[in-house]
Amino acid sequence: MELLDRYLQAVRKYLPLRRQDDIIAELRANMESQIEDRESELDRPLTQGEFDDFLRKMGHPMLVASRYQAQQYLIGPTMFPMYLWVLRIALLWAFIICMIVAAVVTPLTQPGAQAIFDALFRTPGILLQTAAWITLVFAAFEFARTRYPNICPPIEGVNKSWSPSTLPPLEKDTLRKGKPRSFVQAVAEIIFSVLFLGWVLLIPHYPFLLLGPGVVFLKTSPYELASVWWTFFGWIVALGIMQIVAKCIDLARGTWERPSHIQQIVFKIVGLIPVLVLLAAPGHIYVLLKNPAVDQAQFGKNLAQVNDAIHLGFSVICAIVVLQLAFDIGKWVLETYRSREASRS
């Protein structure tokens, strides 16, 4: 019987404090009766192995004790839909705010691309904290509601003010997915992309194609463009070529009607590179003096202002592109998830 005592002692440890004695006494009485019955059937005491089997059949002490506990939820079924809704809204807003801070506020207040990356890397931690706080608040509310039903009024959940007339209108697939691209449109896009690339490639040789009559100013002014613009130019050309190749592949594979979401997102990500190249320009110098020894005194101050203005401009552009990219990725993930769920059901 020592083993029975040890078993009951183990069960006791997992039982609610004020009911321990009562439950253990009852459990002991039932188990001893069962053992006696079995022993009288066999006409001998149970062997150690049989006793082990009997206890094993009863179950792990933690499991046995857990059955005496009231069913507990961290967040119960009444509150759960509301919790999920609040969590989604809060995470969405936290994400939007993080992106605005990372892409708009940070570049305006702290110099350098590193500050933007730091702000972006802080986002997962902030989202986790938001989720944890919301879960904690709902769990506390659930606890109070179940433990103190007299103090906390019953919650009607989401049913109370629901009316069928408040249901949103049907979503049209065509609106969500957009109008398919025609073959003529796809071909025209390739032609114009090639023309655009040709125009871009001619700019270094014929700057008036970009600046028009302003090219005279560039020649006569004391300023010249920094070498970072050549790196930027190289990336623009590479991007142009990549897009033309992808469009030609779509045309060849017959998938021009709806180019894949991943392809569009990849283009937007790669499209960020030229902007980041400019943002990471050494010393944020985009414009130089042709003859610094001569012109520094007269134009040096203006030059610094021009470089700062260009940097600020590209920071804002970068912020807008990052926000748009984040929105597109979120939309794509949601649509992929929905279509997977729909195909499963």
């Binding site: 009852e26 459990l27 009485a29 039932n30 188990m31 009766s33 019955d37 009863m58 179950g59 059955r67």
Partner: protein, 117 residues
């Protein structure tokens, strides 16, 4: 265990849960303590684990459907349970519900059998 087996097991447990409560309430029209109740249910074809039955008795008592008292029997203190007056009313209503469901399921199955013939 396959997914189908797991699904079956979950559905079986779900189906059994309500039936066990009904059987326990019905059996406790006569006084029993945990072990003898389990034995009698098993003799009538309804096997039930100790770790399920004993906590179930506690829950039903907390809900006011059973009453219990400690009494000595065979030189051992045992907790005897029986149906309370509220438990009797609830049992009657549950049995009505049980019979309605049983009849409906039988009708559905009979209709389907007739269609397939």
């Amino acid at each position: 265990m396959t997914v189908a087996d797991t699904n079956f097991e979950n559905l079986r447990l779900e189906l059994r849960r309500g039936c066990l409560t009904l059987a326990v309430l019905a059996q406790l029209k006569r006084e029993h303590y945990g072990y003898t109740l389990r034995k009698e249910l098993a003799e009538r074809g309804l096997e039930i684990d100790e770790s399920t039955l004993y906590p179930l008795l506690r829950r039903l008592e907390t809900q006011g459907l059973l009453v219990s008292q400690w009494r000595e029997e065979d030189k051992r203190n045992k907790r005897f349970y029986r149906l309370s007056s509220e438990g009797e009313q609830i049992l009657a209503r549950l049995l009505d519900e049980w019979n309605t469901i049983n009849t409906s399921v039988s009708r559905i199955l009979e209709a389907q059998n007739a269609e397939t013939k």
